[in-house]
Amino acid sequence: MSARPQALRAALQRTIVGQGAVLDQMLVGLIANGHILLEGPPGVAKTLAARSLAVAVGGTFRRVQFTPDLLPSDIVGTRVYDQRSGEFTTVLGPIFANIVLADEINRAPAKVQSALLEGMQERQATIGAQSHAFPDPFVVIGTMNPLDDDGTYSLPLAQRDRFALNVYVDYPTREEELAIVDRFGAADVDAVIDAVSLDDVRLWREEARAVHLEPRLREYIVDVVRATRNLPPDLLRYIDRGASPRAALTLAQTARAKALLDGRTYVVPDDVRELAFAVLRHRVAFSYRVVSEGIEPLELIASIVRSVDPP
């Protein structure tokens, strides 16, 4: 009898206080076989969430702290000459893990970012002449700190597009913060180990692919994504470029995963509406006027999503 996604959700909630929507979106990313970009101020349990997820699914976890002096071989791996045998041996980098936490991904230069993002897309890395497949499941959780942007290299739109979801981790509520102090103040709380297995995750992915998506909802998804490109005149000056068709594909996949996580075998409009922000946020290129006029990008996305009536 395989475990259900709800069991994993419950296990994670034992470690992480609050942040229910964040955990749900991380699980959706895991089930939809997509990578996740976590954005939020420091100290809001971004790293803890990623580590807890890896421990709870019983997979291998690697954390790479991105710095300006990081090299592509520090992530992917390299070939080392063994003097005793007189041969080259391959040393695999930290990217060969089930869950890779790329901490502060925007602190590394473009060459390192592209090495990681290429691996994310291909799900394999070539070292020397040999290609090495990544383990399955393979999820990259990148984190970015939007408040401290000195000395950072912002991810280009094409590279942000590789992440299925851009999840914003906000500060907890007062009650949640009190619970955090209560729970973590006395002693360290260990993550729940092996709440589910990697085989369970693979099975959920199969099930998610079979979740029913009505043609009306397919049209709704496409209309929402196209609305970021066919903007009304009052929003035109704030957005340079809308979301790609890959966004529509991702929205459909993640909506299916969300339905499975909620114990349904069919997608409803709420699944699409709820995930549209996380799928579109990092795929839309905002113009400089958004910053100069102090407009909240999420509000813009919200007004675009609301402009399309659900079926």
């Binding site: 000195d150 029913h212 009306r216 069919y266 997608v267 709420d270 509406r273 910053v291 100069s292 659900p310």
Partner: protein
Amino acid sequence: MVRRSAGRAVVALAFAVGCIASLRATVVRADGLPTLHVTALAMRAERTRAAAGAAFHVTILVHVDERVETFPTINLPDATNLDILGVERRTTRARVGTDHIEVLTVAGIAPGKASLTPAYVDARDPRRGMHPFRFSSNPLLFAIEGEPSRVDRGPWYTFFVLKLLGGVFAIATLGVVVTLLIRRARNRPRSFVTLPPARPIPASDVSPPLARLAAVRTALGRLHVSRSREDAVVYRAALFAHAGARKDETLAALLRRLEPTNLTLRAALRAAERAVFVEGANVQNAIDDALATGQALIA
């Protein structure tokens, strides 16, 4: 032969020394520059045509990604046929980075064309390997016209204006008098007359909720007969309208607004949603649920 090659060596040496000296000068200049990533530098004028001597404003807007307390000097544009009367600076912290605005007060000198060359900021850009860059704004062109002549409109114009003002005053006075009369009439003591009982008004005219419930009943009847997904869609739309849903509202948003105690309507809405979006193999079961919860709602 030896003398010629010696001469070439001297020239090459002098060239090399010159190159190194110029490189050193560049490095020294670049070291003194602030570290900024300028994402916006624009210059706007409140008007492009102005009379000679008339003052107007030109705004220079800069946005940088960094948080800076004291903004470095912006190299102001060179003005042709314009007097720069004053500069006002303001630096504000944006959500991301810093905004800096400089407002120039300028005035045209003589009729003809006037222009402002681009304003610029020299800085080392951290996004581009800390190389020194010159970030420039757009230039601006203006048309300076002669001073506006005063038109002598003559005594008829004054007469007409005075008549117009008199007319407006008369109408306003009349309006005040009429308002006072109406209020006085309303404040008169009312006569106590027994009014006939009110006529009953048809329910359909005054009670849209009942009409919406009737639409739900009709849609439910059709669904009962046809048991098709298309009729489930019509039934769901009628049910959403009955619950007061807006066009852009999803079920979750609607349920958040509804009274938590209205369990029958909540159950009917959930069942209708399922009947519309469930996979084909389970659609008949879902329609059964929708019919049962719908009947309970109507009852």
